[in-house]
Amino acid sequence: MEPPHKHPRRNDEPTMSPSLPDLSTLPELVLIHILSFMDPKEAVQTCILSKRWRNLWTRVTSLNFNKHAFKSTADFVRFVTDVLFFHGASKLDTFRLSWCVHKHAVSTHSNKTYQIYVSNISAWIFSALSCKPLTISLVLYGFANLKLPRVLFTCASLEQLELDIFDSRKKAIEPKCVNLPNLKKLKFRYCELNNLVMQGILSGCPLLEELSLDGCSLKFSEMKSDVLRCLTILSCQSSRMVEIFMPSLISLHLEDYCPGIIKLSLKNTPSLSKVFVSYKFFNENYFSSAEFGFFNCLTTVTDLELYGPGLQELLEKIILNCPKLHCLKQLTFGQGAINKKPALLCHLLRNTPNLQKLTISDKQHSVPEKPATSGEPKKKGVTGEIPFRCKHLKAIEIKYSDPSRLHELIGILLRNKSHGKRVRIDLSRF
């Protein structure tokens, strides 16, 4: 411990404003920041608190409009229009709009009314864009004639864009020209993306780091980006093989991945080091040799996480042809991945000579297994135990929900690990 200095100098210290016991003394910018976390409706209503608060809300830096909070559509439309009018051009960091129209509601209203709403949405996006926002998030369901304004795809200030747009015609996202020079994060949900759109986006966003596709239908055949570092694909489907050329890609996250329903092929991913895959289910009919290719491209990966009930069947298929994963240091297995045949693990570990840490989380998966795939497979050859040599394996972490399985699993691991090596095993229960 250092002795305190007797006379610490008082200049160039970070100065603290005196701490006072109530909110009303906070600086205006802080109050505006607090208001920015509120629902616009509540933020607006603070105008009656006192004279100081009267116009404070018009400078909020975040507007998050949600139709759910309003009973009538007309009220919602008027409210959003008014708030954006009063907000004017003052600084806006985040603009979120969430408006879902149900199918039956569309038929009861006249087409004309919806046309007006659609033009309202465009106007709001325009006025939000004039404030040079950093983040825009649009959740719009059921607007048949919606077409996003083109300026949305040429906004220079934008760093984060989330588009969650669902309509039956799937024509909302068709930008003629994409130029988002500062965009770092992009998220699509329930969109249909064709070749032209994908190409335009990946070439028009020179700083894009994270791309997330959720529930989209992928109608393109390749993704090429020199800068993308993080790719997330959640329950998407593709009709064609999607080839991925991303030299800077570090992290790949595939959730609810069904081989066959979505076909991915990693063509050029030399920096890939973290991979997370959760298999939804495995269907033998869809199985193709492409899956071998997928595992073959994981040779640079250091951190691999595999989840899901579909994994076991897949592993059985590919295990004999599995490539050596020399770089792999951390391996995580979980949620039904190896429930029925822990011996499969030995086979996989044979191909990971430099593994340092193994994590197994044996929690029952909530997704019901398909009866066709849940029966004990009768394939032979990969069921037996086999010794593995992981010289650097130091720690095994097992999280379990069913202690009866634990015994078998640990037995297999201990019987087959390389001799003379100490391995720490941590157990924890869910």
């Binding site: 250092e2 305190p4 802080v30 509540e42 209503q45 608190l49 409210f79």
Partner: protein, 164 residues
């Protein structure tokens, strides 16, 4: 190791790497680099000892997992844990939050500032004007006339969608 001294003369010894989360402190250390050891003492005046204590606890928690925050997509579990921890951390009275906000503002700790502001906004949500006034000690200096007539009529559009 650097030393922070609060207004009530309590001393807090913190690792430089940990305190670097405050951009202000980082700049001060950078300015004084190469000087005497005594210059590693930083006064956080006018703040009682309770606040530096909390701030340091916050720093330590975040210091332990800087990478995970940057790569949010990889470890959801850790991010969730941190969220739970933060919820507990900010679950205090409004005066402490107030002080935390001021400290985070002047020490320039963006995540702490955001967290505390969000908590305050949560506290103020779904309350009547009187309640908010009471909690946050905002003095209502509107005249009786203004309150009865002018304000409601001028701001009618704010209230016309009072649903519920």
């Amino acid at each position: 190791m650097i030393t922070l001294i609060s207004s009530d003369k309590r001393k807090f010894h913190v690792l430089e790497e940990v305190a670097n989360q405050s951009l202000t402190i980082r700049d001060v250390i950078e300015d004084r680099r190469g000087r005497r050891r005594a210059d590693r003492i930083i006064l956080v005046t006018n703040i009682n000892s309770k606040i530096p204590e909390k701030v340091i606890v916050y720093w330590l928690r975040h210091f332990l997992m800087p990478e995970e925050i940057a790569h949010a997509s990889m470890s959801h579990k850790k991010a969730e844990k941190l969220k739970k921890w933060e919820a507990k951390f900010f679950d205090t009275d409004i005066d402490t939050l107030n002080d935390l906000i001021l400290a985070a503002d002047s020490l320039d700790i963006p995540s702490l500032f955001d967290g505390a502001c969000e908590k305050v906004s949560d506290i103020l949500k779904n309350r009547s004007a009187e309640e908010v006034g009471e909690i946050s000690k905002i003095e209502n200096e509107f005249t009786h006339e203004e309150e009865e007539e002018e304000i409601p009529s001028e701001n009618a559009w704010v209230w016309r969608n009072e649903f519920a």
